[in-house]
């Protein structure tokens, strides 16, 4: 006869000293834990609820400007510094950690319309409606204590006066050039007082300029004649032009720059014009600021926003930026304040212990697994909206639905094939020119 009995000596399963950690034993056998799916579902539901409870995205406001904030620039070399320019010509450098002004850059006579920082983080370029471009040295405020530097003022390295008012500026990635937009597009070098190159296509004002981070020679502009123009610095003339009839139609359109005949995705949710867009450093999501006094965050391929931020006091948002580490969002608005938000509303700030992190990962995975179930979906999707926006959104929905219905009826009563169905991605595009 051979016999063996399970026998455990208590010493092997308990700790020896009171300072020791408790011993933990795992057995992943599914038979030991029944109704796993039910438990997982309950956890997903609770996680979704807790996420809502902990969604406190507003971190703080930074006041100091005496007029509306018109533009912002982040310093690619310094995480907690951000520049902001206002309508009265004031430029400030902020310390995000302390939410204080570190330095001021006085000089502009009219509104500051564009701000950008060179990739090495040494030079700040500003331009405005006073027809000047100013180059500034970025102060090394790491050595200074923030308290005594509050009234600190810098002097520009260079002031370039030009023929027309400027509406936007952007610096080339990794190079020495920057582009300004106004009545025409000018390419500037740091050391020259006149532009090195000038582009013009059509007569309308260029409102915004943005360089491509991957291809340093490419940049795009948008102008007030509803067109988007792609430029290549290596060529003497603009490359392509896209004309849309989507003038302030509250949507964002993302395009594949190679295929401009249809939008990749139409991001709709705002109820008023979108004033500014900024991609997160990962490129997976972007933030928009709108004239409807809200900031929204979209997935790069999501047609509806995943997050909406608003406060009672925040007025029309003119500029938004993702912080360089992708954890914060900064918005500048009409009420002269910069506001700091968390990019993920319910994220815990500060360092997470490995256990906490793993728990969070687990809860995220479970939530993802059960996101299709009605109860979880409802809780995850729900956002509180301010009343005017809620009403405007309802109205917009009604209008869109009515339009759709009308279109449908028109189609039903016309000859088959005479009204081809055009997807919304293509509907707003009028023309693409080479």
């Amino acid at each position: 006869m051979k016999v063996k009995i399970i026998s455990r000596s208590t010493d092997d399963f308990t700790r020896e000293r009171s300072q020791d950690l408790q011993k933990v034993f795992r057995n992943y056998d599914p038979n030991l834990r029944s109704q796993e799916r039910g438990v997982e579902y309950t956890r997903a539901l609770n996680a979704a609820k807790l996420e809502k409870i902990f969604a406190r995205p507003f971190v703080g406001a930074m006041d100091g400007h005496i007029d509306a904030v018109s533009c912002m620039a982040k310093n690619p070399n310094h995480l907690k510094g951000i520049f902001s320019g206002s309508m009265d010509g004031d430029i400030r450098l902020w310390d995000l950690a302390n939410r204080r002004t570190v330095c001021q850059f006085p000089g502009h006579q009219g509104a500051v319309r564009g701000l950008t920082v060179s990739t090495d983080g040494q030079t700040l370029v500003s331009c405005g409606t006073d027809c000047t471009v100013r180059l500034w040295n970025v102060p090394d405020y790491r050595n200074k204590s923030s308290s005594d530097s509050a009234g600190n003022a810098a002097v520009p390295i260079a002031v370039y006066v030009w023929k027309h008012a400027f509406w936007g500026v952007d610096h080339q990635w990794g190079g020495n050039l920057f582009a300004t937009g106004g009545a025409q597009v000018d390419i500037w070098d740091h050391d020259r007082s006149e532009p090195v190159n000038t582009f013009k296509w059509g007569n309308d004002t260029v409102m915004a300029v943005r360089f491509n981070p991957g291809e340093p020679d490419l940049f795009a502009t948008s102008s007030s004649d509803r067109s988007i123009i792609l430029f290549d610095l290596r060529m003497s003339s603009p490359a392509r032009k896209l004309i849309m009839k989507a003038n302030e139609d509250t949507n964002c359109y993302s395009y594949d720059a190679r295929k401009l005949d249809e939008a990749k995705c139409v991001h709709s949710d705002h109820v008023s014009a979108v004033m500014d867009v900024d991609y997160s450093p990962t490129g997976r999501e972007f933030v928009t600021g709108s004239y409807d006094r809200t900031v929204r965050i979209f997935n790069y391929n999501g047609d509806h926003s995943k997050e909406i931020y608003h406060t009672k006091r925040m007025q029309r948002v003119f500029c938004v930026k993702y912080s360089c580490d992708g954890t914060y969002v900064i918005s500048g608005s009409d009420d002269t304040n910069l506001r700091l938000w968390k990019a993920k509303a319910s994220e815990q700030l500060g360092v997470l212990l490995p256990r906490e992190r793993r728990k969070q990962e687990y809860l995220d995975a479970v939530k993802d697994r059960y996101k299709h179930l009605p109860e979880v979906k409802r809780i995850v999707r729900h956002r509180h909206l301010p009343k005017p926006i809620y009403k405007a959104a309802t109205l917009r929905r009604t209008m869109i639905e009515a339009e759709r219905r009308k279109d449908q009826r028109r189609r039903a009563h016309s000859a088959p094939g005479s009204m081809p169905v055009k997807p919304f991605r293509k509907r707003r595009i009028i023309k693409e020119e080479e």
Binding site: K2, K4, I6, R26, N27, S34, Q35, G38, T42
Partner: protein
């Protein structure tokens, strides 16, 4: 929880795994896969197919990682009893086993003789550490089975029919003469659950925090002990019974009735989910296997049947008798009959249970309850003269999981676990026959009603068929064109009528016609149910 946790380990462990090793592990890994993967071949959506195939791959990896980790995570080996030569395992006596085992194990079997306070029932906590003992005449005691300390002993001076632990050893429920009561471990009465009536049997569903009782009048009560809410109160309508068991796999309550029926209940349904006729004559005992597929029933007709409760079919039927039964974690089946205890085993996994061990108590002891102690090779026996326990090698799960049930739980761990289990408390709606259905999509109904168009097309076809019938050529003017046309018309009409009749019957099943209430004779009218 499990799948995800394992995913994290996958990355760490996979580095060391070699390809051939993986193939060896496959049979072990199958257990962790929790069934077959989805059939992705039928999917037309390529994106979804890709996403799902990535997921399936992850599941496979995590199952393999779990199988790999068994070596380190499961330190204790399971028990066994093997006969050598001409020996038979069922002839081996407890005394013989006792001489062979180590000291710790030899302390586990005991006989507690408590003559006066009548047939005893008992219950173990989920971790198997604590035992609650209840004597018919009101004797209640809680024992720590590791240290063999008596934690509390008291008298309620009332009939005690059943005892059951709640979610941990801090609270227990007792079915007393008129009501179930809840006590804490110090013996203080916490609640008296008057809504339940006089209970015969109690069960506790730990995931849902539901206390279930069946009372003298065959009423089933579900009460949430965390909120105090009565979740369900249903009349079984099948008479008094004290055979009630929980299926640990899906928390469905099964009742065995005097008519030979077994009914399965969930708290949100006033009618049983399943009613099955299992025996001719009253059912004496029920037991459920841990994997949730196997049910054993015993009846007064001297039959013991094993059922596949996925198909509700008999797998095996044995001529034997049992007053109480229990499945162990490893699938041994204990049966008691009079003062005899038999333990059956399924040696090859084909549901062919055979004798494994025998044990006889002192003659005249009536065994009321047998129950395996979780995570130990021990069978507890409650009988008319007290409580006993015997060694049954190979019955318990050798490795416990600290997060599921920990026999060596400290006070802090216990408190933490209480909070977590309350956070993860399942709603009563989650109790269903197949709990893995949660979060899945109901497959489309197979039979789709034919659309109007289809019906019309079919009608056309029948009409055409009727029209194309050729008639025999007849004489004496019976084949005149007018006659022929008339005949054809008739045939078509007939075909149409028969088609319509056929479809009407299919489309609209006859509604239950309201029968006008018959006027009762005056003398009987006072017994009629009053209209509201």
């Amino acid at each position: 929880m499990v799948v995800r946790r394992e995913n994290m380990e996958t990355e760490n462990i996979n580095i060391g795994i070699k390809q051939e090793n993986l193939e060896e592990l496959d049979p072990k890994a199958k257990k962790y896969l929790r069934g077959d993967g989805a059939n992705l071949e039928v999917l037309r959506d390529k994106r979804l197919k890709g996403q799902l195939s990535v997921k399936e791959k992850l599941y496979g990896q995590s199952a393999k990682a779990a199988a790999m980790a068994e070596k380190w995570l499961l330190p204790t080996e399971h028990g066994y009893l093997e006969a050598e030569g001409l020996e038979k395992t069922w002839r081996i006596k407890q005394e013989t086993i006792l001489q062979e085992v180590d000291i710790i194990s030899s302390r586990k079997p005991f006989d507690m003789v408590l003559k006066d306070l009548g047939p005893y029932r008992f219950d173990y906590t989920l971790s198997g550490r604590y035992m609650l003992v209840g004597g018919r005449k009101g004797h209640l005691a809680m024992i720590d089975m590791i240290t063999m300390d008596l934690i509390k002993e008291f008298q309620v001076r009332e009939t005690v029919r059943d005892v059951v632990f709640l979610h941990n050893e801090q609270f227990f429920a007792v079915a007393q003469k008129r009501y179930p009561y809840i006590y804490n471990r110090h013996g203080t009465e916490i609640h008296c659950l008057k809504e339940h009536g006089a209970p015969l049997k109690l069960q506790f569903l730990d995931k849902q925090f539901l206390l279930v009782s069946i009372n003298k009048f065959g009423q089933l009560h579900y009460q949430d002990v965390s909120t105090g809410e009565i979740v369900g109160n249903y009349r079984t309508g099948l008479g008094r019974t004290d055979v009630m068991e929980t299926n640990p796999y899906n928390a469905i309550i099964s009742l065995g009735h005097a008519g030979g029926k077994v009914t399965m209940w969930k708290p949100t349904n006033p009618k049983p989910l399943v009613t099955m006729l299992c025996h001719h004559g009253p059912i004496t005992a029920l037991a459920f296997h841990y994997n949730g597929h196997l049910m054993a029933t015993a009846g007064i007709d001297r039959k013991i049947k094993l059922w596949d409760i996925r198909k509700f079919q008999v797998l095996r039927s044995y001529s034997s008798y049992a007053q109480s039964m229990d499945f162990s974690q490893k699938g041994l089946l204990a049966l008691s009959n009079g003062s005899q205890v038999q333990i059956w085993r399924d040696p090859v996994g084909s549901h062919d249970y055979g004798r494994y061990m025998n044990h006889s108590m002192v003659k005249g002891y009536q065994i009321g309850k047998v129950c395996f102690r979780p995570y130990e090779d021990v069978l507890g026996i409650g009988h008319s003269m007290g409580i006993s326990s015997i060694l049954v090698p190979g019955s318990g799960e050798p490795n416990f999981d600290s997060w599921v049930a920990n026999p060596y739980e400290t006070k802090k761990q216990r408190r933490e676990k209480e909070v977590h289990s309350l956070l993860d408390k399942l709603q009563p709606e989650t109790i269903m026959l197949d709990p893995s259905k949660i979060g899945t999509v109901r497959p489309p109904r197979k039979k789709v009603r034919p659309s109007k168009k289809e019906v019309e097309a079919e009608l056309d076809e029948t009409v055409q068929k009727a029209k194309s019938v050729t008639f025999k050529n007849k004489t004496k003017g019976r084949s005149k064109p007018s006659k022929k046309a008339k005949k054809k018309e008739e045939v078509v009409l007939n075909a149409k009528r028969s088609f319509r009749e056929l479809h009407q019957v299919e489309e609209r099943p006859l509604k239950k016609q309201k029968v006008d209430e018959v006027e009762l004779p005056k003398s009987l009218q006072r017994f009629a149910r009053k209209k509201l």
